[in-house]
Symmetry: C2
Subunit: 245 residues, 2 copies
DNA sequence: TGGGCCCTTTGACTTGCGTCAATGTCAGGA
DNA sequence: TCCTGACATTGACGCAAGTCAAAGGGCCCA
């Protein structure tokens, strides 16, 4: 596995600024700075494989990565979509549970496991933040269970687009208006593996949603949402579910 | 909502003995003892409803509870199965994310949220334990995503039975042999809602697994597994996945 | 002993999504 | 400019699981 060192402006690192350390004291930030390092993976590259020992934890700085579980015969289910500020790895466990893949070019802010765990002992609020993140991921996973177990193909597609709209929105509160254009960060195959569908079904449902005026397709990856409310109505969710910023 | 007080022997409380406090000092145990209290719910009773404010966290002492998400039209997906020693609620959040229902008669060991959170600040290892539990639940949820997204009905049924066998096994290492009989703690409807299927499909696949000699049915709830390896081969999982005790 | 209720099983039929296969689109390289 | 390969769309067809409906059990209680 090829792993190149990659120099990145520290101010972009979410470990420091968002994911872990929004409550850090200056001297704690200095300590985080000392032990962190960056890694870069080109699009398509495998970051980690299930069962492999893992000696680092990391936070996504830029790009998109996926967590997947696969069966021997090739059936694949995406179990997590990692966008900037998301965390990879779990303190206290050495083996990796999922395959991690870079979908786009990917920059990670890494910490070796041992020094990071030492740091958790001294900075309890970092562990508190990790607990919050784990519980948020758990909620997200459970919402996805409803999608995979009970939603129709059309509802799944609408839910995914709504999710990406939501995650594309700045957390500063600037809500997307109408006529928004978003860029799908993933291929049809990745979408299918996330939604528990085939690429053909994904394609057909996107075509149908376009025919029904719910979305407009703009090239292979671009989607324009003329009416966000119309899209949300197609997800099958309660109106307010998760759309509160 | 009827909630009766219920007296229980403290030694059965997993908060004290397993879920949270295996590392507690004696004086910490005393403090936990002081603030805990028990609640009892008869089978079928609603414990909590999504959106409702939640002022307690709890640990399952006896019985089975479920976490579910539902859509307006009635489609329901079970997102968690709570067996003794499992934890309900999340510190730092006041609203409930899921519907919680007692499937069998259920005994909970409860803590009011505020004193429990105060306790977390003073006993950091309790928060460490909560993080471990959250990450374990996250792994379980993601395994279930693979099941819901990609497995056939037959594989889902086999996986559920295997899961219940696994969870019925003592953690002291006594592995179930062949010819084991287990008691399904849930109805066909609950199974269907857990597996993303209909009750008819669940029933048909159970019948087929019996016809193929993978399982034997013993009354409505009992299942005899003549050959555990044969059952595991039907789950679609890697041989060793999760079956290490 | 029988009736009512709930859960489960079974059968006949339907359908949404998967499978297989062909065609379309676009970007990069010779 | 054409070739090539990767990704996406579309169509025809099949099947696994859903839907609708009826017929068992098993348990409680009159």
């Amino acid at each position: 596995m090829k792993r190149e060192e990659f120099s990145v402006d520290c101010s972009a690192c979410p470990i420091r600024h968002k994911a872990v350390c929004s409550r850090c004291e200056p001297d704690e930030l200095d300590e985080l700075e000392r032990i962190k390092f960056y890694k870069f993976y080109p699009a398509g590259q495998t970051v980690a494989i299930r069962g492999e020992p893992l000696e680092t934890v990391a936070s996504v700085v830029g790009g998109v990565a996926t967590l997947t579980r696969s069966m021997e015969d090739g059936r694949t289910q995406l179990v997590g979509l990692l966008l900037p500020s998301d965390f990879i790895g779990r303190p206290g466990r050495t083996a990796i549970e999922y395959d991690v893949t870079a979908v786009t070019d990917l920059t990670l802010c890494c910490f070796n496991r041992k020094p990071f765990e030492d740091l958790l002992v001294r900075f309890p609020h970092v562990r508190e933040r990790l607990l919050e993140m784990a519980l948020d991921e758990l909620d997200a996973a459970r919402d996805w269970m409803l999608l995979l177990g009970r939603k129709t193909a059309r509802e799944r597609i609408a839910s995914l687009i709504a999710l990406i709209v939501k995650r594309s929105t700045r957390p500063d509160g600037s809500v997307m208006g109408t006529g928004t254009r978003i860029e799908l960060p993933i291929t049809r195959e990745t979408m299918a593996n996330y939604l528990g569908l085939t690429i053909e079904t994904v394609s057909r449902q996107l075509t149908k949603l376009r025919a029904d005026g719910i979305i407009e397709l703009d090239g292979k990856r671009g989607i324009i949402i003329p009416d966000l409310g119309g899209l949300l109505a197609e997800t099958g969710d309660d109106d307010d579910g998760g759309m509160i910023f």
